[in-house]
Symmetry: C2
Subunit: 225 residues, 2 copies
Amino acid sequence: MADELLDRIIEGEFPPGSTVPGEHELSARHEVSRMTVREAMKTLQAQRILSVERGRGTFVNPLSSWASLEAVLRAAAEGKNDADASIQLIELRRMLETGACELAAGRIAEEDIEALFNYVAAMKAAHSINDVAAFVEADLAFHDVILRASGNVFVSVLFEPLHRVLEKRRAETSAVPAIQEHAIGHHQNIAEALESRDAARARQAMDEHMQQTLDDLKQLVLETK
Amino acid sequence: MADELLDRIIEGEFPPGSTVPGEHELSARHEVSRMTVREAMKTLQAQRILSVERGRGTFVNPLSSWASLEAVLRAAAEGKNDADASIQLIELRRMLETGACELAAGRIAEEDIEALFNYVAAMKAAHSINDVAAFVEADLAFHDVILRASGNVFVSVLFEPLHRVLEKRRAETSAVPAIQEHAIGHHQNIAEALESRDAARARQAMDEHMQQTLDDLKQLVLETK
DNA sequence: AAATGCAAGATGTCAGACATCTTACAGTTA
DNA sequence: TAACTGTAAGATGTCTGACATCTTGCATTT
Protein backbone atom coordinates (compact mmCIF):
# COMPACT_ATOMS: atom_id res chain seq x y z
CA MET A 1 0.00 0.00 0.00
CA ALA A 2 2.75 2.44 0.94
CA ASP A 3 4.66 1.32 -2.13
CA GLU A 4 1.70 1.81 -4.42
CA LEU A 5 1.16 5.32 -3.17
CA LEU A 6 4.87 6.05 -3.47
CA ASP A 7 4.73 4.82 -7.04
CA ARG A 8 1.97 7.26 -7.86
CA ILE A 9 3.98 10.07 -6.29
CA ILE A 10 7.15 9.15 -8.16
CA GLU A 11 5.31 8.89 -11.44
CA GLY A 12 4.38 12.51 -10.99
CA GLU A 13 0.70 12.07 -10.27
CA PHE A 14 1.15 14.12 -7.11
CA PRO A 15 4.00 16.60 -7.57
CA PRO A 16 5.85 18.08 -4.58
CA GLY A 17 3.79 20.72 -2.82
CA SER A 18 0.48 19.26 -3.87
CA THR A 19 -1.84 17.25 -1.67
CA VAL A 20 -2.52 13.57 -2.01
CA PRO A 21 -6.17 12.46 -2.12
CA GLY A 22 -8.00 12.25 1.18
CA GLU A 23 -7.87 9.11 3.28
CA HIS A 24 -11.42 8.08 2.35
CA GLU A 25 -10.68 8.47 -1.33
CA LEU A 26 -7.44 6.49 -1.16
CA SER A 27 -9.24 3.88 0.86
CA ALA A 28 -11.77 3.44 -1.93
CA ARG A 29 -9.21 3.69 -4.73
CA HIS A 30 -6.91 1.00 -3.34
CA GLU A 31 -9.70 -1.11 -1.89
CA VAL A 32 -8.36 -1.17 1.65
CA SER A 33 -9.71 0.28 4.85
CA ARG A 34 -8.95 3.79 5.93
CA MET A 35 -6.85 2.43 8.77
CA THR A 36 -4.54 0.65 6.37
CA VAL A 37 -4.19 3.86 4.40
CA ARG A 38 -3.25 5.71 7.55
CA GLU A 39 -0.57 3.18 8.46
CA ALA A 40 0.92 3.43 4.99
CA MET A 41 0.94 7.20 5.30
CA LYS A 42 2.68 6.96 8.67
CA THR A 43 5.46 5.05 6.93
CA LEU A 44 5.83 7.73 4.27
CA GLN A 45 5.70 10.45 6.91
CA ALA A 46 8.54 8.85 8.83
CA GLN A 47 10.58 8.99 5.63
CA ARG A 48 9.69 12.67 5.24
CA ILE A 49 8.07 12.00 1.91
CA LEU A 50 4.72 13.28 3.15
CA SER A 51 3.82 16.05 5.58
CA VAL A 52 0.47 16.02 7.32
CA GLU A 53 -1.39 19.11 8.42
CA ARG A 54 -4.41 18.35 10.47
CA GLY A 55 -7.62 19.69 9.01
CA ARG A 56 -5.95 20.71 5.75
CA GLY A 57 -4.57 17.62 4.11
CA THR A 58 -1.47 15.58 3.38
CA PHE A 59 1.24 17.17 1.26
CA VAL A 60 4.06 15.79 -0.86
CA ASN A 61 7.47 17.09 0.23
CA PRO A 62 10.13 18.18 -2.26
CA LEU A 63 12.48 15.38 -3.14
CA SER A 64 15.38 17.13 -1.42
CA SER A 65 13.85 16.60 1.99
CA TRP A 66 13.11 12.90 1.59
CA ALA A 67 14.96 10.86 4.18
CA SER A 68 14.83 7.52 2.39
CA LEU A 69 17.73 6.69 0.11
CA GLU A 70 15.71 3.91 -1.51
CA ALA A 71 12.83 6.21 -2.32
CA VAL A 72 15.12 8.85 -3.81
CA LEU A 73 16.87 6.18 -5.79
CA ARG A 74 13.58 4.99 -7.23
CA ALA A 75 12.64 8.55 -8.09
CA ALA A 76 16.03 9.23 -9.67
CA ALA A 77 15.83 6.10 -11.79
CA GLU A 78 12.39 7.07 -13.08
CA GLY A 79 12.48 7.71 -16.78
CA LYS A 80 16.24 8.06 -17.21
CA ASN A 81 18.72 5.24 -17.29
CA ASP A 82 19.91 4.45 -13.83
CA ALA A 83 23.58 4.43 -14.81
CA ASP A 84 23.89 7.97 -13.54
CA ALA A 85 22.34 6.99 -10.24
CA SER A 86 24.75 4.09 -9.85
CA ILE A 87 27.71 6.38 -10.35
CA GLN A 88 26.40 8.86 -7.82
CA LEU A 89 25.96 6.09 -5.29
CA ILE A 90 29.58 5.07 -5.72
CA GLU A 91 30.63 8.68 -5.32
CA LEU A 92 28.76 8.76 -2.05
CA ARG A 93 30.30 5.52 -0.92
CA ARG A 94 33.68 6.93 -1.77
CA MET A 95 33.16 9.92 0.50
CA LEU A 96 32.12 7.84 3.46
CA GLU A 97 34.63 5.04 3.07
CA THR A 98 37.66 7.22 2.45
CA GLY A 99 36.66 9.39 5.38
CA ALA A 100 36.11 6.40 7.65
CA CYS A 101 39.44 4.89 6.56
CA GLU A 102 41.25 8.11 7.36
CA LEU A 103 39.74 8.16 10.83
CA ALA A 104 40.33 4.46 11.38
CA ALA A 105 44.08 4.86 10.80
CA GLY A 106 44.42 6.66 14.11
CA ARG A 107 42.03 4.48 16.08
CA ILE A 108 42.07 0.92 14.78
CA ALA A 109 42.91 -1.85 17.25
CA GLU A 110 45.59 -4.47 16.68
CA GLU A 111 43.08 -7.27 16.48
CA ASP A 112 41.12 -5.44 13.80
CA ILE A 113 44.26 -5.06 11.70
CA GLU A 114 44.79 -8.76 12.05
CA ALA A 115 41.22 -9.38 10.98
CA LEU A 116 41.77 -7.25 7.87
CA PHE A 117 44.71 -9.36 6.73
CA ASN A 118 42.70 -12.50 7.42
CA TYR A 119 39.92 -11.26 5.17
CA VAL A 120 42.42 -10.46 2.43
CA ALA A 121 43.69 -14.03 2.73
CA ALA A 122 40.10 -15.27 2.54
CA MET A 123 39.57 -13.24 -0.63
CA LYS A 124 42.67 -14.76 -2.18
CA ALA A 125 41.52 -18.26 -1.27
CA ALA A 126 38.02 -17.64 -2.65
CA HIS A 127 39.50 -16.21 -5.82
CA SER A 128 41.67 -19.26 -6.40
CA ILE A 129 38.74 -21.68 -6.18
CA ASN A 130 36.30 -19.39 -8.02
CA ASP A 131 33.94 -19.01 -5.07
CA VAL A 132 32.22 -15.70 -5.80
CA ALA A 133 29.92 -15.80 -2.77
CA ALA A 134 32.81 -16.30 -0.35
CA PHE A 135 34.76 -13.55 -2.09
CA VAL A 136 31.95 -11.03 -1.72
CA GLU A 137 31.42 -12.03 1.90
CA ALA A 138 35.07 -11.42 2.81
CA ASP A 139 35.01 -8.17 0.84
CA LEU A 140 32.00 -6.87 2.75
CA ALA A 141 33.43 -7.97 6.09
CA PHE A 142 36.68 -6.16 5.32
CA HIS A 143 34.93 -2.86 4.72
CA ASP A 144 32.71 -3.37 7.72
CA VAL A 145 35.73 -3.70 10.01
CA ILE A 146 37.05 -0.36 8.78
CA LEU A 147 33.72 1.38 9.23
CA ARG A 148 33.50 0.16 12.82
CA ALA A 149 37.14 0.98 13.46
CA SER A 150 36.47 4.58 12.47
CA GLY A 151 34.90 4.92 15.88
CA ASN A 152 32.10 6.97 14.40
CA VAL A 153 28.67 5.43 14.94
CA PHE A 154 26.97 7.85 12.61
CA VAL A 155 28.99 6.72 9.63
CA SER A 156 27.51 3.28 9.97
CA VAL A 157 24.03 4.73 10.19
CA LEU A 158 24.40 6.63 6.96
CA PHE A 159 26.22 3.81 5.26
CA GLU A 160 23.74 1.08 6.08
CA PRO A 161 21.04 2.01 3.55
CA LEU A 162 23.75 2.63 0.97
CA HIS A 163 25.11 -0.82 1.67
CA ARG A 164 21.70 -2.37 1.11
CA VAL A 165 21.29 -0.61 -2.22
CA LEU A 166 24.76 -1.47 -3.47
CA GLU A 167 25.08 -5.11 -2.45
CA LYS A 168 23.07 -6.37 -5.42
CA ARG A 169 25.42 -4.74 -7.88
CA ARG A 170 28.55 -5.77 -6.05
CA ALA A 171 27.85 -9.43 -6.76
CA GLU A 172 27.87 -8.61 -10.48
CA THR A 173 31.17 -6.76 -10.58
CA SER A 174 32.86 -9.23 -8.21
CA ALA A 175 32.09 -12.09 -10.58
CA VAL A 176 34.71 -10.85 -13.05
CA PRO A 177 38.11 -12.49 -12.30
CA ALA A 178 40.16 -9.47 -13.36
CA ILE A 179 38.19 -7.21 -11.04
CA GLN A 180 38.75 -9.68 -8.21
CA GLU A 181 42.50 -9.44 -8.72
CA HIS A 182 42.39 -5.65 -8.69
CA ALA A 183 40.35 -5.73 -5.52
CA ILE A 184 42.73 -8.08 -3.72
CA GLY A 185 45.66 -5.78 -4.43
CA HIS A 186 43.80 -2.73 -3.22
CA HIS A 187 42.62 -4.42 -0.07
CA GLN A 188 46.16 -5.49 0.67
CA ASN A 189 47.32 -1.89 0.27
CA ILE A 190 44.57 -0.61 2.53
CA ALA A 191 45.37 -3.10 5.26
CA GLU A 192 49.06 -2.22 5.11
CA ALA A 193 48.31 1.49 5.19
CA LEU A 194 46.12 1.08 8.26
CA GLU A 195 48.82 -1.03 9.88
CA SER A 196 51.23 1.90 9.44
CA ARG A 197 48.61 4.15 11.10
CA ASP A 198 49.31 6.83 8.51
CA ALA A 199 45.99 8.63 8.01
CA ALA A 200 46.88 10.25 4.68
CA ARG A 201 48.22 7.00 3.28
CA ALA A 202 45.16 5.09 4.46
CA ARG A 203 42.82 7.60 2.83
CA GLN A 204 44.74 7.43 -0.42
CA ALA A 205 44.75 3.63 -0.47
CA MET A 206 40.99 3.53 0.02
CA ASP A 207 40.50 6.31 -2.50
CA GLU A 208 42.37 4.35 -5.15
CA HIS A 209 40.23 1.33 -4.41
CA MET A 210 37.09 3.41 -4.84
CA GLN A 211 38.40 4.89 -8.07
CA GLN A 212 39.02 1.39 -9.35
CA THR A 213 35.52 0.34 -8.34
CA LEU A 214 34.07 3.34 -10.15
CA ASP A 215 36.07 2.57 -13.27
CA ASP A 216 35.02 -1.07 -13.16
CA LEU A 217 31.40 -0.09 -12.87
CA LYS A 218 31.59 2.44 -15.69
CA GLN A 219 33.16 -0.15 -17.94
CA LEU A 220 30.56 -2.73 -16.98
CA VAL A 221 27.74 -0.29 -17.58
CA LEU A 222 29.20 0.78 -20.90
CA GLU A 223 29.56 -2.81 -22.07
CA THR A 224 25.99 -3.76 -21.25
CA LYS A 225 24.66 -0.74 -23.08
CA MET B 1 3.59 7.87 21.63
CA ALA B 2 6.40 6.86 19.26
CA ASP B 3 8.75 9.08 21.23
CA GLU B 4 7.74 7.56 24.55
CA LEU B 5 8.34 4.07 23.27
CA LEU B 6 11.66 5.15 21.76
CA ASP B 7 12.62 6.57 25.13
CA ARG B 8 11.97 3.25 26.81
CA ILE B 9 14.06 1.51 24.17
CA ILE B 10 16.93 3.97 24.50
CA GLU B 11 16.89 3.73 28.27
CA GLY B 12 17.61 0.05 27.85
CA GLU B 13 14.26 -1.29 28.93
CA PHE B 14 14.09 -3.26 25.68
CA PRO B 15 17.60 -4.11 24.52
CA PRO B 16 18.33 -4.91 20.85
CA GLY B 17 17.18 -8.37 19.90
CA SER B 18 14.44 -8.47 22.50
CA THR B 19 10.76 -7.98 21.84
CA VAL B 20 8.72 -5.01 22.92
CA PRO B 21 5.47 -5.70 24.79
CA GLY B 22 2.49 -6.72 22.70
CA GLU B 23 0.20 -4.15 21.17
CA HIS B 24 -2.56 -4.74 23.71
CA GLU B 25 -0.16 -4.33 26.61
CA LEU B 26 1.34 -1.10 25.23
CA SER B 27 -2.15 0.14 24.56
CA ALA B 28 -3.02 -0.32 28.23
CA ARG B 29 0.32 0.95 29.53
CA HIS B 30 0.24 4.22 27.60
CA GLU B 31 -3.53 4.62 27.81
CA VAL B 32 -4.11 4.91 24.09
CA SER B 33 -5.94 2.70 21.65
CA ARG B 34 -4.27 -0.21 19.95
CA MET B 35 -4.51 1.62 16.65
CA THR B 36 -2.46 4.52 17.96
CA VAL B 37 0.13 2.05 19.18
CA ARG B 38 0.28 0.50 15.74
CA GLU B 39 0.76 3.85 14.04
CA ALA B 40 3.59 4.71 16.40
CA MET B 41 5.18 1.35 15.66
CA LYS B 42 4.85 1.98 11.93
CA THR B 43 6.91 5.12 12.43
CA LEU B 44 9.62 3.23 14.30
CA GLN B 45 9.53 0.47 11.70
CA ALA B 46 10.11 2.97 8.91
CA GLN B 47 13.21 4.12 10.79
CA ARG B 48 14.35 0.51 11.10
CA ILE B 49 14.35 0.73 14.85
CA LEU B 50 11.78 -2.05 15.12
CA SER B 51 11.24 -5.19 13.05
CA VAL B 52 7.86 -6.87 13.05
CA GLU B 53 7.38 -10.59 12.52
CA ARG B 54 3.78 -11.53 12.18
CA GLY B 55 2.63 -14.02 14.75
CA ARG B 56 5.85 -13.78 16.74
CA GLY B 57 6.21 -10.23 17.94
CA THR B 58 7.98 -6.92 17.42
CA PHE B 59 11.75 -6.86 17.89
CA VAL B 60 14.24 -4.13 18.65
CA ASN B 61 16.94 -3.85 15.99
CA PRO B 62 20.61 -3.35 16.85
CA LEU B 63 21.56 0.29 16.90
CA SER B 64 23.79 -0.16 13.86
CA SER B 65 20.81 -0.75 11.61
CA TRP B 66 18.76 2.22 12.76
CA ALA B 67 18.07 4.57 9.86
CA SER B 68 17.29 7.67 11.88
CA LEU B 69 20.20 9.95 12.68
CA GLU B 70 18.16 11.69 15.35
CA ALA B 71 17.32 8.46 17.12
CA VAL B 72 20.94 7.30 17.07
CA LEU B 73 22.03 10.68 18.35
CA ARG B 74 19.61 10.42 21.24
CA ALA B 75 20.86 6.94 22.01
CA ALA B 76 24.50 8.02 21.77
CA ALA B 77 23.94 10.96 24.11
CA GLU B 78 22.30 8.69 26.68
CA GLY B 79 24.35 8.59 29.84
CA LYS B 80 27.60 9.97 28.46
CA ASN B 81 28.32 13.60 27.72
CA ASP B 82 27.32 14.42 24.19
CA ALA B 83 30.59 16.16 23.38
CA ASP B 84 31.81 13.00 21.73
CA ALA B 85 28.65 12.80 19.65
CA SER B 86 29.08 16.40 18.53
CA ILE B 87 32.61 15.70 17.35
CA GLN B 88 31.51 12.62 15.45
CA LEU B 89 28.80 14.63 13.74
CA ILE B 90 31.35 17.16 12.56
CA GLU B 91 33.56 14.34 11.33
CA LEU B 92 30.63 13.10 9.28
CA ARG B 93 29.91 16.53 7.95
CA ARG B 94 33.53 16.82 6.98
CA MET B 95 33.39 13.67 4.88
CA LEU B 96 30.30 14.76 2.98
CA GLU B 97 31.22 18.39 2.49
CA THR B 98 34.81 17.83 1.40
CA GLY B 99 33.60 15.12 -0.97
CA ALA B 100 30.86 17.31 -2.38
CA CYS B 101 33.26 20.22 -2.77
CA GLU B 102 35.71 18.05 -4.68
CA LEU B 103 32.96 16.95 -7.05
CA ALA B 104 31.57 20.45 -7.39
CA ALA B 105 34.92 21.79 -8.64
CA GLY B 106 34.42 19.96 -11.91
CA ARG B 107 30.73 20.64 -12.32
CA ILE B 108 29.81 23.99 -10.79
CA ALA B 109 28.11 26.54 -13.03
CA GLU B 110 29.31 30.11 -13.47
CA GLU B 111 26.24 31.58 -11.82
CA ASP B 112 26.75 29.37 -8.76
CA ILE B 113 30.32 30.63 -8.38
CA GLU B 114 28.97 34.14 -8.52
CA ALA B 115 26.43 33.25 -5.86
CA LEU B 116 29.20 31.94 -3.62
CA PHE B 117 31.08 35.24 -3.73
CA ASN B 118 27.85 37.08 -3.06
CA TYR B 119 27.28 35.00 0.06
CA VAL B 120 30.81 35.70 1.24
CA ALA B 121 30.11 39.40 0.79
CA ALA B 122 26.89 38.97 2.75
CA MET B 123 28.82 37.27 5.56
CA LYS B 124 31.28 40.16 5.67
CA ALA B 125 28.44 42.67 5.81
CA ALA B 126 26.64 40.76 8.54
CA HIS B 127 29.86 40.48 10.50
CA SER B 128 30.50 44.22 10.36
CA ILE B 129 27.07 45.07 11.77
CA ASN B 130 27.02 42.19 14.25
CA ASP B 131 24.00 40.49 12.69
CA VAL B 132 24.43 36.85 13.75
CA ALA B 133 21.21 35.61 12.15
CA ALA B 134 22.12 37.05 8.75
CA PHE B 135 25.63 35.62 9.08
CA VAL B 136 24.36 32.11 9.76
CA GLU B 137 21.87 32.36 6.92
CA ALA B 138 24.54 33.31 4.38
CA ASP B 139 26.80 30.59 5.77
CA LEU B 140 24.15 27.91 5.33
CA ALA B 141 23.24 29.17 1.85
CA PHE B 142 26.92 29.03 0.84
CA HIS B 143 27.25 25.40 1.80
CA ASP B 144 23.93 24.54 0.22
CA VAL B 145 25.08 25.90 -3.13
CA ILE B 146 28.11 23.62 -3.04
CA LEU B 147 26.09 20.57 -2.11
CA ARG B 148 23.74 21.15 -5.02
CA ALA B 149 26.63 21.94 -7.34
CA SER B 150 28.13 18.54 -6.56
CA GLY B 151 25.48 17.17 -8.91
CA ASN B 152 24.87 14.29 -6.54
CA VAL B 153 21.29 14.13 -5.28
CA PHE B 154 22.10 11.48 -2.71
CA VAL B 155 24.55 13.71 -0.89
CA SER B 156 21.74 16.11 -0.13
CA VAL B 157 19.56 13.27 1.10
CA LEU B 158 22.16 12.09 3.58
CA PHE B 159 23.13 15.60 4.55
CA GLU B 160 19.63 16.85 5.26
CA PRO B 161 19.12 15.13 8.66
CA LEU B 162 22.67 16.06 9.60
CA HIS B 163 21.90 19.65 8.74
CA ARG B 164 18.84 19.60 10.98
CA VAL B 165 20.83 18.23 13.90
CA LEU B 166 23.72 20.65 13.50
CA GLU B 167 21.93 23.92 12.87
CA LYS B 168 21.20 24.50 16.54
CA ARG B 169 24.88 24.33 17.45
CA ARG B 170 26.00 26.41 14.51
CA ALA B 171 24.20 29.45 15.87
CA GLU B 172 26.29 29.14 19.04
CA THR B 173 29.70 28.95 17.41
CA SER B 174 28.85 31.63 14.84
CA ALA B 175 28.10 34.10 17.60
CA VAL B 176 31.80 34.41 18.43
CA PRO B 177 33.38 37.27 16.40
CA ALA B 178 36.78 35.60 16.06
CA ILE B 179 35.16 32.47 14.69
CA GLN B 180 33.21 34.58 12.20
CA GLU B 181 36.46 36.06 10.90
CA HIS B 182 38.01 32.64 10.50
CA ALA B 183 34.92 31.46 8.65
CA ILE B 184 34.93 34.40 6.24
CA GLY B 185 38.53 33.70 5.25
CA HIS B 186 37.86 30.04 4.70
CA HIS B 187 34.75 30.66 2.66
CA GLN B 188 36.68 33.08 0.50
CA ASN B 189 39.34 30.41 -0.10
CA ILE B 190 36.72 27.82 -0.96
CA ALA B 191 35.00 30.09 -3.45
CA GLU B 192 38.30 30.92 -5.13
CA ALA B 193 39.30 27.27 -5.26
CA LEU B 194 36.02 26.36 -6.93
CA GLU B 195 36.45 29.22 -9.35
CA SER B 196 39.77 27.71 -10.39
CA ARG B 197 37.96 24.36 -10.91
CA ASP B 198 40.85 22.56 -9.25
CA ALA B 199 39.31 19.58 -7.47
CA ALA B 200 42.23 18.88 -5.15
CA ARG B 201 42.51 22.52 -4.16
CA ALA B 202 38.75 22.76 -3.57
CA ARG B 203 38.81 19.69 -1.37
CA GLN B 204 41.70 21.05 0.65
CA ALA B 205 40.08 24.44 1.12
CA MET B 206 36.88 22.84 2.42
CA ASP B 207 38.88 20.43 4.56
CA GLU B 208 40.70 23.29 6.25
CA HIS B 209 37.38 24.97 6.93
CA MET B 210 36.04 21.79 8.51
CA GLN B 211 39.19 21.40 10.58
CA GLN B 212 38.73 24.95 11.82
CA THR B 213 35.10 24.25 12.68
CA LEU B 214 36.12 21.14 14.57
CA ASP B 215 38.78 23.05 16.50
CA ASP B 216 36.33 25.83 17.32
CA LEU B 217 33.83 23.35 18.60
CA LYS B 218 36.37 21.50 20.71
CA GLN B 219 37.50 24.75 22.26
CA LEU B 220 33.93 25.81 22.89
CA VAL B 221 33.11 22.47 24.46
CA LEU B 222 36.23 22.53 26.59
CA GLU B 223 35.46 26.03 27.85
CA THR B 224 31.92 25.25 28.89
CA LYS B 225 33.07 22.20 30.79
C1' DA C 1 -18.08 46.32 5.07
C1' DA C 2 -16.81 43.74 8.95
C1' DA C 3 -17.74 40.29 12.23
C1' DT C 4 -19.96 36.11 13.38
C1' DG C 5 -21.72 31.47 12.90
C1' DC C 6 -22.03 27.29 10.59
C1' DA C 7 -21.25 23.46 7.63
C1' DA C 8 -18.08 20.62 4.91
C1' DG C 9 -14.04 18.13 4.64
C1' DA C 10 -9.68 16.94 6.35
C1' DT C 11 -6.92 14.31 9.88
C1' DG C 12 -6.79 12.20 14.92
C1' DT C 13 -8.54 8.79 17.96
C1' DC C 14 -11.24 5.18 19.70
C1' DA C 15 -13.66 0.50 20.29
C1' DG C 16 -14.63 -4.09 19.03
C1' DA C 17 -14.41 -7.78 16.01
C1' DC C 18 -12.42 -11.26 12.98
C1' DA C 19 -8.44 -13.18 10.12
C1' DT C 20 -3.93 -15.11 9.79
C1' DC C 21 0.47 -16.61 11.28
C1' DT C 22 3.76 -18.75 14.78
C1' DT C 23 4.66 -21.53 18.51
C1' DA C 24 4.24 -24.81 22.16
C1' DC C 25 2.15 -28.66 24.06
C1' DA C 26 -0.65 -32.50 24.52
C1' DG C 27 -2.24 -36.45 22.35
C1' DT C 28 -1.91 -39.95 18.79
C1' DT C 29 0.32 -43.25 16.06
C1' DA C 30 4.03 -46.19 14.05
C1' DT D 1 10.37 -44.52 22.38
C1' DA D 2 10.17 -41.42 18.60
C1' DA D 3 7.85 -39.03 15.16
C1' DC D 4 3.74 -36.93 13.71
C1' DT D 5 -0.53 -34.25 14.29
C1' DG D 6 -4.13 -31.37 16.10
C1' DT D 7 -5.31 -27.75 18.86
C1' DA D 8 -5.20 -23.69 21.61
C1' DA D 9 -2.88 -19.41 22.92
C1' DG D 10 -0.91 -15.25 21.67
C1' DA D 11 1.01 -12.30 18.37
C1' DT D 12 0.26 -9.08 14.32
C1' DG D 13 -2.92 -7.75 10.07
C1' DT D 14 -7.18 -5.88 8.63
C1' DC D 15 -11.85 -4.25 8.71
C1' DT D 16 -16.06 -1.46 10.06
C1' DG D 17 -18.20 2.40 12.07
C1' DA D 18 -18.27 6.06 14.95
C1' DC D 19 -16.94 10.43 17.14
C1' DA D 20 -13.50 14.35 18.03
C1' DT D 21 -10.89 18.21 16.45
C1' DC D 22 -8.96 21.40 13.27
C1' DT D 23 -9.14 24.34 8.93
C1' DT D 24 -11.51 26.71 5.58
C1' DG D 25 -15.01 28.95 2.87
C1' DC D 26 -19.50 30.75 2.71
C1' DA D 27 -23.73 32.51 4.26
C1' DT D 28 -25.69 35.23 7.72
C1' DT D 29 -25.96 38.91 10.76
C1' DT D 30 -24.70 43.25 12.58
